[in-house]
Amino acid sequence: MLELFGTTLPSRLLLGTAQYPSPAILADAVKASGTSVVTVSLRREMAGGRAGENFWSLIRALGMRVLPNTAGCHSVKEAVTTAKMAREVFGTTWIKLEVIGNHDTLQPDVFGLVEAARILCEDDFAVFPYTTDDLVVAERLLEAGCRVLMPWCAPIGSALGPINMTALRSMRAHFPDVPLIVDAGLGRPSHAATVMEHGFDAVLLNTAVAKAADPIGMARAFGKAVEAGREAVRSGMLEPREVGMPSTPTIGKAAFS
């Protein structure tokens, strides 16, 4: 099973809670996915505390561990303050650290990310950094105190799937003992299965489930895909080859002339 910061998690799928058609569908999708970690955020409260309380009641009723994020933060200061506010509200040191650097791609500002990660790790946060597949940045994040890395596989919400599998494979090979969670850009269950087959420890996704025509069915499909990919990599997959090889024994084949 997946172990993160001393916590054993039964599922290797982490699921976001945004953009669902309704709170009821969100709750059912979370249950159908089999996940045990959901991501949440903090936003300006405009209803005197009641909007946030309603959502938080729904999440607490699901009995999941929560991973708050710093989504939308574009500076180190914003991200660090948001993380501290999240720790107070959600009562967890876990933080999905996002420092966004580009408005179009939502690519992380990796320089700010490393700086924010260092500040938060020194403050005893369990930092889950949303990063790129850059190996040098990954090294810097680990030096800053991170014990988990979350590389994107494509821009957030793009549904493109792993657009640079070579880089992701390289990352897996370079950090064999670091939990690696593919975060952002997954569009289909086959994308999730693919990265799991390449040895990634887990995936985190949101839009692909929430914006599906049937989010509950898609949540279930992603849950199965993640399990299938994990089981496959543990079971030893065949290496592809260029020529055909019969699967039915040739010995004892009848000869007709």
Partner: protein, 65 residues
């Protein structure tokens, strides 16, 4: 005193952060507060003195990816 609360200008009589929350009808245990971009812990709101022009953020749990 003039304050910016969640991006909107307010003219209030409150002098502490706790008084401000009460005056604006914020309630509940699931709020996080920051003044001028720094977290103010819940336990410190009653003693936290506000100043004219302060920027206050009042956040609560929301959906996130």
């Amino acid at each position: 005193m003039k304050l910016i609360v969640n991006g909107e200008a307010h003219e209030v009589a409150a002098t502490t952060l706790a008084e401000l929350l009460a005056a604006l009808d914020y309630e509940g245990d699931w709020l996080a507060t920051a003044v001028n971009s720094d977290l103010v812990h819940k336990a410190h709101r009653a003693e936290f003195q506000l100043s004219d022009g302060d920027r206050i953020e009042i956040l609560s749990p929301m959906q996130g990816g």
